[in-house]
């Protein structure tokens, strides 16, 4: 039963860790746009290669805007 004295604080620490990382992610704008990425991931990679090599400047797939 004494293990509770270790496990309970551990659980709390774990929870705290997740809460902090969530707050940081929110501040970085991870959750500003919840719809577009859901659509973007539907597009297969094969569509990413442009047929004309001319001035192939594909926008970098980056995270949401800060």
């Amino acid at each position: 039963m004494n293990i509770v004295y270790v496990l309970a604080p551990l659980a709390l620490l774990l929870g705290l860790g997740f809460a902090i990382s969530y707050i940081v992610a929110t501040h970085r704008g991870q959750f500003d746009d919840l719809e577009t990425p859901a659509h973007r991931m539907l597009i297969d990679d094969e569509f990413d290669t442009p047929k004309t090599p001319a001035k192939a400047k594909i926008p970098a797939k980056k995270g949401p805007h800060l």
Binding site: M1, V4, A8, A11, L12, G15, L16, F18, A19, Y22, I23, T26, H27, G29, F31, D32, D33, L34, E35, T36, H39, R40, L42, I43, F47, P50, K51, T52, A54, K55, A56, K57, I58, P59, A60, H65
Partner: protein, 816 residues
């Protein structure tokens, strides 16, 4: 061709008959329905013509995408439904104003990024295509799409032009509009949303961890560990009950200070009562229950359901965020000596400036013609579809269109003071006054809250002397279990889901209130020009007097490069004929006549005066020297979908009225074709915008108006529900409540069926919620419900109502 023929060929055709006859002439097969490969709209074309597009816009966009290697767009669209099917709308605006320093200062983000609202962003393939804009336009470094808001953030390469980027967006069929996304208001909104998310996250984390400890408490932890765990739940609940529940405290405080009640008052009462009770049993080490877990859960559930609802409502188009279409645009200002022209934004136009107006441009401000003359389409203000001759000294108004001629405008009023701007402003103010179901729901909610609080006080008072803790526990159960969430959440949810379902079917609804107002509509007013008839002048009949078909080749060659509305109508009338290519030289316009030479003869097109049937607008003759070869009657053609839409609405028992600013004879002719009865006042003609507005105001909540977003702005706003079918979206949604994306009136019937289904769902939810609250409230009062059970049942009842709304919403979206 002998003169004798003239007497023989005297036929008068209806347009449809002419089509079928002429196809017989060229020995061709009949026309058939085809599907446009760009937008998927079906259109009518000859089977053998090889036509693959419904319009030039679609053809141009398709060609552009194929040459840029972006034709994967079509493949992608096939595999990622829903397919967006709208004909490409390419605006003629040059977007040069986007490079105006004043505009860049106001709308760009660090000078590099600009946000545009784009029309036509509907599916994943659109996102893919828009984010590959740099392949089409060298000025763009990257594009980021926000699907929910329908906006794109364009980042330019250093030294790149925003105007060219906007042009590129326009060229691929997404009409861009500047939006002020980088402004302070948007920034505040974003911050607010992030704060909300963090609040929910903290509440969720704490509540989750509280559960670990309370489960063992319920499981019967021994007294030492039990005591510890109870304290731990209190510590973990502290941030939820202070920081997390802060919005409830604030809102309840504000309501009490204003001496009213809102839904947050009983929530706060329950929270405080629960905290006091739990703290007491914790400190006094009594055997009483500790409620920190259920209180945190309550806060978390309320916070997240409210945020979800708010998000659902905010993703819909917020018309006020679209900037004024009048202010944004490019004009060519003349220097005082009249020698040089400079392109400036309309925003910077001043009184007494001189502006060069070319043919086919929008007049930017109210003013007087300094010199030159032209032909102006006044339909934006009067509804009259035929253009009017204007010359030196005439007054012209902003928002009207110069279709022909070049002249100089002497600006007399700033753009924001023009007659059209005033009408639009008026429209905006009246669109803000809203009779709302939500206001009613709030009121009922307040009564509900008041009654619950009184009952709780009563039960506490009743047990005050005999068993205070029993009275307290019953009151707490009552306050927690009775939830007016049907008023606070289910009704707004049903309304927003209806808005979403309508958007899927091409109906943009400004907000949920419109659904409620639509239910009260008994009479529907239709505008004529552009609503029940084609917007452009079209040929409704022609008569061949003499000559053979080959001479129509001359006519086509003459009209080919003219952009006059008459030329466009004539070309459309003869486009299906199999005509020989002819060479015409010396094409010129003299005193309203179009002249050209071919095979030694002089051919001309000129007005023939009003035709005998007075309902037609005007008649044009095609002449060789002075001999008339053919006569064309131009007028309004009734739209096919209008007939169907009117039939459907009348079948629903709605009254229909035709309302127009056009001449009485014209309006009556159109009205009779569409089955409007003249005697019972179903046709109103020669109405000014002000007349229309008064008429609709007088009808109050019963009347809906369907019209052109620009022409009828004030009437649309005055109507209980204004429905815009044409015109630019931003101008339309300023005044109207509904905008038809597809320009197909048949969608109106969908609008009414969505309204009725939503209304039924709301009534059902009210019944569920009232019966639940009465039963649960009675149980709590009689002491048959423990406060803990109340905390479990409350979210369950809310869920039932929310799920019931969601099911209806889903049904509406998939179309039953």
């Amino acid at each position: 061709v002998g003169l004798g023929l003239a007497a023989v060929v005297q036929l008068r055709w209806d347009m449809e008959k002419a089509m079928s006859l002429t196809t017989g002439f060229s020995g061709d097969t009949a026309s058939m329905l085809k599907v446009c490969i760009h937008c998927g709209t079906s259109f009518r074309a000859e089977a053998s013509s090889g036509e693959r597009f419904c319009c030039h816009g679609c053809e141009a966009v398709h060609q552009l995408l194929t040459t840029a290697g972006l034709d994967d767009y079509y493949r992608l669209r096939e595999i990622s439904p829903p397919v967006c099917a709208l004909p490409a709308k390419v605006s003629s605006e040059s977007f040069a104003f986007c490079d105006d320093p004043e505009v860049i200062r106001r709308y760009s983000n660090n000078d590099r990024e600009m946000d545009f609202f784009v029309e036509g962003l509907n599916c994943s393939a659109c996102i893919w295509l828009l984010e590959r804009l740099p392949l089409l336009c060298g000025d763009v470094e990257s594009v980021e799409v926000n699907f929910a808001k329908s906006t794109v953030r364009v980042k330019r390469v250093s030294g790149g032009s925003f105007a060219r980027a906007a042009q590129a967006l326009n060229r691929i069929g997404y009409t861009p509009h500047l939006v002020d996304e980088s402004g302070t208001q948007e920034l505040l909104r974003k911050r607010e949303r992030r704060r909300e998310l963090i609040r929910i996250g903290v509440a969720a984390a704490c509540t989750g961890n509280i559960m670990i400890f309370s489960v063992s408490l319920y499981g019967g932890a021994d007294s030492f560990i039990g005591q510890w765990f109870a304290w731990l739940t209190a510590v973990l609940a502290a941030p939820v009950l202070t920081y997390g529940a802060w919005p409830f405290y604030r809102s309840a405080y504000q309501a009490l200070r204003a001496r009213t009640l809102n839904l947050d008052v009983p929530i706060v009462a329950a929270l405080i009562a629960g905290v006091v009770m739990s703290a007491w049993s914790l400190l006094a080490r009594t055997e009483g229950a500790v409620y920190f877990d259920s209180l945190s859960m309550l806060v978390f559930l309320l916070l997240s359901s409210r945020a979800w609802l708010k998000n659902l409502q905010q993703t819909h188009l917020d018309a006020s965020r679209l900037e004024d279409s009048l202010l944004l645009g490019t004009v060519e200002r003349l220097s005082p000596d009249g020698r040089t022209r400079e392109k400036i934004s309309r925003l910077s136009l001043q009184v007494d400036d001189f502006v060069a107006i070319d043919s086919d441009t929008l007049i930017p401000a109210d003013g007087i013609i300094a010199h030159g003359h032209g032909l102006v389409q006044m339909s934006a203000l009067t509804g009259e579809s035929a253009p009017v001759d204007v010359r030196e000294g005439d007054v012209v108004f902003a928002g009207t269109q110069n279709v022909e001629g070049e002249w100089v405008l002497h600006v007399k009023k700033k753009v924001s003071d023009s007659r059209l701007a005033r009408l639009l402003r008026d429209a905006e103010t009246s669109s803000r006054e809203k009779p709302a179901l939500i206001r009613f729901a709030d009121q009922v909610g307040r009564w509900f809250v008041g009654v619950v609080l009184l009952l709780a006080l009563f039960i506490v008072a009743r047990f005050a002397l005999t068993d205070p803790s029993e009275g307290f526990s019953r009151a707490l159960a009552l306050v927690i279990v009775t939830c007016p969430c049907v008023f606070g959440m289910a009704i707004p949810l049903s309304l927003s889901l209806a808005v979403k379902a309508a958007a899927r079917r091409g109906l943009l609804i400004k907000n949920g209130d419109v659904i409620e107002r639509l239910a009260a509509i008994r009479r529907v007013y239709f505008d004529k020009t552009g609503t029940v008839t084609e917007a452009a002048l079209s040929c409704v009949g022609f008569q061949i007097c003499t000559g053979d078909l080959s001479e129509f080749g001359v006519l086509r060659a003459l009209e080919k490069d003219q952009d006059h509305p008459v030329a466009i109508a004539l070309l459309r009338a003869i486009e299906s004929l199999d005509l020989p290519e002819m060479k015409v030289s010396n094409v010129r316009v003299e005193d309203g006549r179009l002249l050209g030479e071919c095979r030694g003869h002089e051919y001309s097109v000129r007005a023939h005066g009003l035709s005998e049937a007075e309902t037609l607008r005007m008649s044009y003759g095609f002449y060789r020297e002075d001999e008339m070869l053919a006569r064309f009657d131009l007028g309004d053609r009734v739209r096919e979908d209008a007939t169907d839409a009117l039939r459907a609405l009348r079948a629903r028992g709605l009254e229909t009225v035709l309302l127009s600013g056009d001449r009485r004879s014209v309006v009556e002719a159109v009205g009779q074709k569409l089955g409007f009865a003249r005697i019972s006042g179903d046709i109103v003609a020669e109405a000014t915008p002000e007349d229309k507005r008064e008429l609709l105001r007088a009808d109050g909540a019963r009347a809906a108006m369907i019209g052109d977003g620009a022409n009828d702005a004030s009437a649309l706003a005055a109507a209980s529900v204004g429905i815009a079918v044409r015109g630019s979206m931003e101008a339309s949604l300023r005044a109207a409540d509904v905008y038809l994306l597809k320009n197909d009136l048949r969608a109106l019937d969908d609008l009414f069926s969505i309204t009725h289904a939503t209304r039924r769902a709301i009534v059902r939810n009210l019944l569920i919620s009232v019966s639940f609250n009465v039963c649960a409230g009675a149980l709590a009062l009689t002491g048959h419900m423990h406060p803990l059970w109340a905390a479990v049942l409350m979210p369950l009842s809310s869920l039932t109502v929310l799920i019931s709304s969601l099911i209806t919403g889903r049904k509406l979206e998939t179309g039953k």
